[in-house]
């Protein structure tokens, strides 16, 4: 393979946005039949670099060579003609069309279009690599994993032999990830070249042949995966040595803080989302919520936060003196007025927790704008808080007057978490707090959770990475289909057991 001309060569690629340099002088090669992992922290320019190859952006400087020939890629169509296809993090599919219609959409074919022939070709691709989709199924009927499959087939249908996948596993369950990796290996065996962007080190080590590391838009180094380990990769990515262990201090004097009894919730379409949920969250303890995405995690947190209409059941807040306050039927403002400081880091950061078009200071104001004198908001304190959060959590931002939507995902999350813990809460609810975050940022967040726990806060942590849940949480509540599948001791449980409980109530084999 060494003597062969690389299928894709990048030479001194530089991409700027205004004054911001996203990629600077990046050079790298991709060989035929290899899986290359592109690893870097949030905002290190991985996606931008790949977009330049896929024809979304045009780099200011540098050359791209495909199979040894210099090319100019001005549009995704140019990229396709060169056999380059990218599967983006946010799918670009039309919901009301079928899988097959989406796959052929936008193809330029002089002859009369033949959907049957297309279907046959799709089926052939599926069989070859082991995909499992029905070409006639509508996109809106599909799960996230199926949609991703359609995106991959779409790219293959167009004859791509260089595939770029941008964080493909971020939205998948562990089982789905295994399936995807199996397919990627099939494609590699078929001679395709694959570039995969991911944050998850275990996946990099599992699937890739080579790893290229970017930091702050620059090429840092590369490893042959067989010779690398998690510690080496992390150190190279972050630029300094990082410890990869999550602390789990023993809870100190845990007392009941939130008692949920018989909670039942329906969504706006009348579909049952939570059924008879009962549990207790205690002070000085992290209660993990495990479950396949969409099994009631969102509704559970929003119920406690006062954002969800509740059919039946009770959510009691237990005061220091043991008396209870009922939270059902109260909105967030009334909960605050009761003297309960409840912080909530929702899943949809820019859709719910923050306002994308407002700057950092104005976003800090969301929680405190009522504190000002009379008619006016207090503007000074929020900006000071923003400065403080930027400093303490190492938020990468030009200033506190930058619109939050211009920050990268990890920095957005730091702003949100920073604001939520600044109010010295007694209960902290977090949903997928580290989703899309790189290792370094994730560890900052875990550390913050532990600090809150040590302060005596009742932390509820909804997570998707089982390894992290098992390392971080004191107890783990497993949700399955809107019901409590079980509550386990985080120190005395194995991953397999949790995985079983996520897919079957109680985790038993015969529970179908």
């Amino acid at each position: 393979m060494e003597n062969q001309v690389p299928v894709l060569q990048l030479k001194h690629i530089t991409k700027r946005f205004g004054n911001i340099t996203a990629n600077e002088d990046v050079s790298m090669d991709v060989h035929q039949g290899e899986i290359l992992a592109l690893l870097g922290e949030n905002g290190s320019g991985k996606t931008t670099l790949m977009n330049a190859i896929a024809g979304i952006y045009y780099p200011e400087e540098g050359e791209i060579l495909v199979r040894g020939k210099e090319v100019s890629i001005n549009s995704p169509r140019d990229a396709f003609e060169l056999g380059i296809g990218m599967i983006h993090q946010h799918f670009k599919l039309i919901d009301v069309l079928t899988a097959a219609e989406n796959i052929v959409l936008g193809l330029k074919d002089k002859r009369r279009f033949d959907l049957k022939a297309a279907n046959a070709k799709i089926t052939e691709i599926c069989e070859k690599y082991g995909f499992d989709i029905d070409p006639n199924q509508k996109i809106y009927d599909m799960s996230v994993s199926q949609k991703q499959t359609v995106e991959i087939v779409k790219v293959l249908f167009r004859g791509a032999d260089i595939l770029i996948l941008d964080e493909p596993t971020a939205v998948l369950t562990p089982q789905e990830t295994d399936k995807l990796f199996h397919i990627l290996r099939n494609m590699k065996a078929d001679g395709k070249s694959i570039i995969i962007i991911t944050h998850k080190l275990n996946e990099v080590l599992d699937i890739s042949d080579r790893v290229v590391i970017l930091r702050k838009g620059k090429y840092i180094c590369e490893f042959v995966t067989a010779e690398a380990d998690a510690q080496k990769l992390t150190d190279a990515m972050v630029g300094h040595a990082v410890t990869l262990n999550i602390d789990r201090p023993e809870p100190v004097d845990p007392k009941d803080r939130i008692r949920v009894k018989g909670l039942t919730v329906k969504n706006s379409d009348g579909v049952l989302k939570l059924k008879d949920i009962s549990f207790t969250a205690r002070t000085g303890e992290i209660l993990g919520i495990a479950g396949i995405s969409g099994n009631g995690q969102k509704e559970l947190l929003e119920s406690i936060a006062g954002l969800q209409k509740i059919e039946s059941g009770s959510i009691a807040y237990v005061n220091e003196d043991g008396t209870e306050k009922e939270l059902v039927g109260l909105d967030p403002k009334k909960i605050t007025d009761l003297g309960v400081t409840l912080s909530f880091v929702p899943e949809d950061r820019l859709g719910m927790g923050l306002v994308g078009n407002m700057n950092l200071g104005e976003n800090m104001m969301l929680r405190t704008f009522r504190h000002g004198h009379g008619l006016f908001t207090d503007r000074k304190a929020p900006y000071q808080l923003a400065e403080q959060v930027v400093k303490e959590l190492e938020v990468n931002t030009p200033s506190v007057r930058t619109a939050v939507r211009k920050l990268s995902g990890g920095n957005v999350q730091k702003v949100l978490v920073g604001r939520e813990i600044s109010s010295a809460p007694t209960v902290l609810l977090t949903a997928y707090a580290v989703r899309g975050l790189d290792i370094n940022s994730s560890y900052i967040i875990y550390d913050l959770m532990n600090k809150q726990k040590e302060r005596g806060v009742a932390v509820i942590y909804v997570g998707e990475d089982l390894d992290v849940l098992l390392e971080l949480c004191d107890r783990i509540l497993v949700l399955c289909d809107g019901q409590v599948s079980g509550i386990l001791d985080g120190r005395d449980v194995d991953k397999q057991q949790v995985g079983m409980m996520m897919t079957r109530l109680g985790g038993g084999e015969a529970n179908e």
């Binding site: 946005f17 100019s72 936060a305 909105d331 820019l350 704008f369 008619l375």
Partner: protein, 363 residues
């Protein structure tokens, strides 16, 4: 395939303020040049003379300056009324109807109570009634939006026509003399309900009131709790609920404010300057105000500039059509071209155009 594109467009992350203004000034200059060329080609007139006539038509005499100020005041009043609604992403296209209802309220009080109660009380009642009428007209679509999520764009638009019909009806009820089909000047002899003149001009009071309202609105939107709440609701309703802002309440409250200020515009027209009521009294300012507000990005202080620009263009266009005996549409063409350039330059503020570097040889 093997070539760099001649131009490619990329998004700007930021632009320094003086560059932004430079782009805008270039846009205006270019617009004037293009208008001049078109004027020469189509009419054979000297464009410099045309522009001179436009400026003369707006600033030529003291009366013209007062008319300019009065027109800016009313347009600005409606524009700042629309600003909070638009900031909340509530597309209030009913400014015309809300102002007309305010005018109807003021006229009704003048006609029905004129000379029956002391003048100061009469004016006070006029203020209350016209504000209430404007607010009422705005709160109906707001209520439906808040309660059933109806489309506010269509609803507010349709309310304009209802308002026009209502005014048409009352014009007939109160017509003077009978059969004239119009009201004429209300309380011409007693001047009851006419706003006091200050500085010898009937326009100055309106200008002062609107100037104060503009500053108050700027502070309201930028620094008040209400202003913050309505911005959050506009950006994201889930976020508003997340921090316990009552979305329905904010929608209704903001529209009461928006309608009330439109009502004030109607009041100023009836009580301050025109002293009559017609269906065309507001003259489409509810829609022109939309343009003013958008151009100024909903900032009340910038609206002073944009409303001046719009009024200047309108008045200048009217002037040149009469001075040079041109078709009425000619003024609209000029206005259209200038607005095209001003709105079009926003593209260059958000995007950068990169040209191919000619020195680079492709190997």
């Amino acid at each position: 395939m093997n070539k760099v594109p001649l131009i490619h467009i990329s998004r700007r992350k930021d632009i320094v303020w003086y560059r932004a203004w430079l782009v805008r000034i270039i846009a205006v200059v270019l617009a004037l040049v293009v208008c001049g060329l078109i004027t020469m080609v189509m009419t054979g007139l000297d464009p410099i003379k045309v522009y001179a006539a436009m400026i003369d038509g707006t600033f030529g005499t003291a009366r013209r300056v007062w008319m300019l100020l009065q027109n800016i005041a009313i347009l600005l009043c409606i524009s700042i009324a629309l600003a909070p609604a638009f900031r909340m992403r509530f597309w209030n296209l009913g400014g015309d109807g809300q102002a007309l209802m305010g005018a109807l309220g003021a006229a009704a009080v003048m006609i029905l109570l004129g000379d029956k109660i002391p003048n100061w009380l009469l004016i006070l009642v006029m203020v209350v009634v016209s504000i209430a009428a404007g607010a009422f007209w705005a709160v109906i679509p707001a209520f439906f939006k808040a309660r059933w999520n109806t489309n506010e764009t269509l609803f507010t638009l349709m309310m304009n026509y209802v308002a026009i019909q209502l005014v048409a009806f009352f014009v007939i009820v109160w017509e003077v003399p009978k059969g004239a089909g119009k009201i004429g000047i209300i309380n011409q002899n007693s001047n009851a309900g006419w706003f006091p003149q200050i500085g010898g001009s009937k326009y100055l009071l309106n200008v002062i009131i609107v100037a104060i309202l503009t500053i108050v609105m700027f502070i309201y939107m930028k620094y008040s709790k209400h202003g913050y709440e309505l911005s959050v609701v506009g950006e994201s309703e889930p976020t508003a609920r997340y921090v316990g802002i009552k979305v329905r309440k904010v929608i209704i409250r903001t529209m009461v404010l928006s309608g009330a200020l439109c009502g004030v515009a109607g009041l100023l027209l009836v009580g301050g300057t025109d002293h009559t009521l017609t269906t065309t009294l507001v003259g489409g300012r509810g829609f022109t105000g939309v343009m003013v507000a958008w151009l100024a990005k909903f900032n009340p202080v910038f609206m002073v500039i944009t409303s001046f620009l719009i009024v200047f263009l309108q008045r200048g266009a009217t002037e040149i059509t009469t001075t040079f005996g041109l078709n009425q549409s000619y003024g609209d063409i000029i206005t259209g071209i200038i607005l095209f350039f001003i709105i079009g330059c926003e593209f260059f503020l958000n995007y950068r155009i990169n040209f191919r570097k000619s020195h680079k040889e492709v190997a």
